[in-house]
């Protein structure tokens, strides 16, 4: 696989992964403004679950990318 393509795909994946986090940040800020005082321990756990979900997605994303990069290199070496 082309080196430029490899790096550009990694950068693209990072950008795509972190862009929705800006929306998550804004949403959490608004929610804290609304229910800041009435937030329970359970709400924090729920937010942690949501964040963990997102991180899992990121891991899966990079797995697929790794698979594509490795596949491209194997094809080239053959």
């Amino acid at each position: 696989m082309n080196t430029y393509l490899k790096y550009s795909l990694v950068i693209f994946t990072l950008v795509v992964f972190f862009t929705p986090l800006l929306y998550l940040k804004r949403a959490s800020e608004r929610l804290f403004e609304k229910y800041g005082k009435s937030l329970t321990f359970a709400s924090y756990i729920v937010s942690a679950v949501l964040l963990a979900t997102y991180i899992t997605c990121g891991v899966l994303m990079f797995q697929v990318l790794n698979h594509i990069i490795k596949g491209g290199e194997k094809d080239g070496e053959r």
């Binding site: 430029y4 393509l5 979900t53 094809d75 080239g76």
Partner: protein
């Protein structure tokens, strides 16, 4: 007032004023020194022009003491209204929370123009724009992947790799849009219980794991 005959036009029938009537452009403040225009527009330019030109321009006018109707004025209340084509929707905001202004592609279908039609065309335009935007980046990556990295790389391998990269990039963009939608929806939720949030989190986890598994299998198949 001078009276006479110019052959085809009796200008005695028109009152010749020293001040020329002004055309007032909407949005501009009319100057206070000039006298107010003689004619106020109803807002519809076609009917205004119809009224102005419905009498014969050449030949004898039927009016005895008519004043020339040449000034078309849009009242200030009309001018102060926001343009109908500019729609400011709170649903469409950028990541910093500022509302985005869109110019709706309106069809000039007579007097049946309405906000419903404008918003419909706006939604279609936005969907098309987002689809095109989502296709541009994967296509660029696919083109980049088509460039051979090794001398002995076959044509079929290059095509395969570019297809894989295209599918991967497109899937990532769709995932990103989906997550943006989910987080925006969370922002507007009110009165949702913790149990519902947990269920939402679990559902998202399942959906995303399935989604990426499908992409992995699909890219392997390609």
């Amino acid at each position: 007032m001078a009276k006479g005959d110019l052959g085809f036009l009796e200008y005695s029938e028109f009152e010749m004023k020293s001040e020329k009537p002004k055309l007032i452009i909407p949005g501009e403040k009319p100057s206070r020194s000039s006298s107010p225009p003689e004619y106020e527009s109803s807002g519809d330019i076609e009917s205004d022009l119809g009224e102005v030109f419905d009498e014969p321009f050449f030949g004898k006018s039927t009016r005895s003491k008519g004043k020339p109707k040449v000034a078309i004025k849009w009242s200030t209340s009309e001018a102060s209204k926001p343009r109908e084509s500019a729609i400011q929707s709170p649903e469409f905001t950028d990541i910093f929370g500022k509302p985005i202004m869109f110019e709706a592609a309106q069809k000039s279908s007579g007097k049946s123009r309405g906000r419903g039609k404008a918003s419909d065309s706006l939604v279609v335009t936005l969907e098309m724009q987002s689809l095109i935007r989502n296709l541009i980046v994967p296509t660029l990556f696919a083109v980049l992947a088509y460039i051979p990295a090794y001398k002995d790389q076959k044509f079929s391998e290059r095509v395969q790799l570019s297809l894989r990269v295209f599918v991967y990039a497109f899937a990532l963009l769709i995932f990103s849009r989906f997550m943006e939608f989910v987080f925006k929806s969370i922002e507007n939720l009110s009165g949702i219980s913790d149990l519902s949030f947990t269920l939402l989190g679990i559902a998202m986890l399942v959906i995303c794991v399935m989604y990426f598994s499908i992409i992995k299998v699909f890219t392997k198949q390609l």
